[in-house]
């Protein structure tokens, strides 16, 4: 391990240069660390949200939803599935879109949903003031709305707002219209669940939402189903498949997703996303590696005479090669460690400011080992050429070098 002492000695001799040449790797590793940590955090968060629903949730999406589709999913189907399919507890269609809501000059953006009354049970929502949407609201086309915590807070500054009115602003080609709704219920502060942030919801009877906002004539892009319990989920799933196949006579026109399938899909998407981001961040690692190679080539040039002396007193080519290779590997590994520490700080800062968006960071042994391995590999890869140059010098010529 004497050779390591020599490595540190020559790195310490040139502290500033050593540090500057490490910067590229430090930044690269920090970036990769941060991205992986945030990515893993996001995935974990999403998985938790999806799982929080329980494994009895089944989602049906139509592959061909459009207002003019010849045979779309309909709210009727949700009602039929609820009554006809064994194992199903509840089902609802889902009209969803973002709208600006306002009252007395205060406004905010809400996710407006048109649903069947069963939605509240499926999503396991807590109504803290007032009541959920019910059948009469739907049948009598009442302008009733249940709103999330944030909506109540931003429009009224308080939660007990039953009976208050507010407007949904619909902008179309002929200008914007205000449509007035009455608050019949307020939801407990909940956070995200499945695909929505519950606190930002405005929930309307589907008939009203369809008639006044969505103009979908009873169609829906997706149907959300809850099975009676986990054990009936498979039975329900098969029943839904049977029902939909009879309706469409083509299994390509709809997709049935269970919680597992949703998790798989989400993980796949976040995984791809992660790989792309890490790929981009890796570019800085490559640039850093080239920087290391450059500095090592300069070092070899500068130390030509030293190499000559060492060879003259009996250092083998292998020993010279090892000395320089070790120097670049130690350089990049130290840079990697600094980068990791920086990455932890960086993700801490990002999480601090990104809490509102549900960002969190997760550090795994895997990502730490990966950073180690990658920085050592960069040192090896970009150090081998300069080290080889050094070891190939002829002793006589190296000694003559000024």
């Amino acid at each position: 391990m004497e050779i390591l002492r020599e490595t540190f000695r020559s790195l310490f001799d040139n502290k500033l240069r050593t540090f500057l040449s490490m910067l590229g790797i430090i930044i690269g590793v920090a970036a990769v660390m941060t991205i992986i940590a945030i990515g893993d955090g996001a995935r974990e968060e999403i998985n938790r949200t999806v799982s929080s629903l329980g494994s009895n949730i089944i989602m049906v999406t139509s592959s061909i939803f459009s207002r003019f589709a010849s045979d779309p999913l309909e709210f009727k189907d949700a009602i039929n599935i609820t009554t006809m399919v064994p194992g199903v507890a509840n089902a609802t269609g889902l009209l969803a879109s973002s709208y600006v809501v306002e009252i007395h000059g205060k406004n905010t953006t809400a996710t407006v949903l048109g649903v069947l009354p069963g939605f509240f049970e499926i999503m396991n929502l807590d109504v803290v003031y007032g009541r959920p949407i019910n059948e009469e609201d739907s049948e009598e086309l009442r302008s009733s709305a249940v709103i999330g915590y944030n909506i109540a807070d931003k429009l009224f500054g308080r939660q007990e707002v039953i009976g208050e009115r507010f407007n949904i602003i619909q902008t179309g080609s002929s200008g914007s219209r205000k449509i007035t709704f009455e608050v019949v219920g307020v939801l407990k502060k909940t956070g995200s669940r499945l695909l929505f942030n519950i606190d930002d919801l405005v929930i309307l009877p589907h008939t009203v939402a369809d008639h006044r906002l969505f103009h979908a004539s009873g169609r829906t892009g997706q149907i959300l189903v809850s099975a009676i319990d986990e054990k009936s989920a498979d039975l329900a799933r098969m029943g839904i498949d049977f029902y939909l196949y009879r309706k469409f006579e083509d299994s390509k026109k709809y997709t049935i997703l269970s919680q597992d399938a949703i998790l798989d899909a989400v993980n796949q998407i976040t995984g791809i996303f992660n790989v792309i981001l890490v790929g981009i961040a890796s570019i800085s690692l490559v640039v850093g590696g080239i920087g290391i190679m450059n500095i090592m080539l300069v070092t070899v040039k500068e130390r030509t005479r030293e190499i000559g002396i060492k060879m003259a007193i009996g250092a083998s080519r292998r020993r010279i090669l090892l000395e320089f290779l070790l120097e670049s590997v130690v350089l990049t590994v130290i840079a990697g460690i600094i980068g990791m520490i920086l990455g932890v700080f960086l993700s801490g800062i990002i999480v601090h400011f990104g809490k509102a968006f549900g960002l969190s960071a997760v550090f795994t042994v895997k990502s730490i080992l990966l950073s180690f391995g990658v920085s050592a590999a960069i040192g090896l890869f970009f150090g081998i050429y300069p080290a080889n140059q050094a070891s190939k010098l002829s002793p006589v010529e190296a000694l003559r070098y000024e």
Binding site: E2, R9, S10, D13, R305, E306, G308, I309, K310, M311, A312, I313, G314, A315, S316, R317, R318, R319, S394, P395, V396, L399
Partner: protein
């Protein structure tokens, strides 16, 4: 019985500079026996340094054979050559060639490090050698903190570190004043009296009386070999 340390047979060194070829050595043949003190002289450009580099396995001849302790050098592989330089040869240069970042002690230790000598033994031997050349009180000085003569003495200690078969020196007093030069003479003389084989290239005629054999080079050829005194069975 003393044996042959080094043999040169018809050694040629031709530097190929593209258009011109410089024939630095043109068929040099001689032996170095154990215990000899060889002085190599000759005008500038006659091939003295080239010859010494080939003797010291720093360079290989273009033609001819170099035999060290019975083994032909050109047949050796890289690591073997490094080992020969490390264990059989001690080189002393005109410009000292110490490592500037290392202390005197560390400079002397380095050949032993390459030879795989354990740290403690290394340190002890390096200390001993530095004391022997009169630098017992300069162990932790760096080369820049030493005079030229002192640096050259460190270099001699380093050359002796692995107890080599021969010490080769290329104008070891060339960069020194007369007084420092004389100290180097004295050390070499002492070494030879203790049986160390020496090969010294010099311009300084005061060396002539110290040597046991004087090789005169002229234009890449041996012009004359003068045996001053016989060593062992030669």
């Amino acid at each position: 019985m003393p044996g042959t340390v080094l043999e040169l047979r018809e050694v040629w060194k031709i530097y190929d500079m593209g258009e011109v070829k410089v024939e630095a050595l043109k068929g040099v043949t001689f032996n170095i026996e154990e215990g000899e003190f060889i002085i190599i002289i000759g005008p500038s450009g006659s091939g003295k340094s080239t010859l010494l580099q080939i003797l010291g396995c720093l360079d290989l001849p273009t033609k001819g054979e170099v035999i060290i302790e019975g083994i032909e050098v050109s047949k050796m592989k890289g690591p073997q050559l490094a080992k020969i330089r490390n264990q059989k040869i001690g080189f002393v240069f005109q410009g000292f060639n110490l490592l500037p970042k290392y202390t005197a002690l560390e400079n002397v230790e380095l050949p032993m490090l390459y030879a795989g000598v354990p740290a403690k033994k290394r340190r002890e031997r390096a200390k001993e050698l530095l004391e022997m050349v009169g630098l017992g009180d300069r162990l932790n000085h760096k080369p820049t903190q030493l005079s030229g003569g002192q640096q050259q003495r460190v270099a001699i200690a380093r050359a002796l570190a692995n107890d080599p078969a021969i010490i080769l020196a290329d104008e070891p007093t060339g960069n020194l004043d007369t007084k420092s030069g004389e100290e180097i003479f004295r050390i070499f003389e002492e070494l030879n009296e203790n049986g160390v084989t020496l090969g010294v290239v010099t311009h300084d005629l005061r060396w002539l009386e110290k040597g046991s054999k004087i090789i005169k080079l002229l234009d890449g050829r041996i012009e004359d070999i003068e045996v001053v005194r016989h060593v062992g069975n030669t």
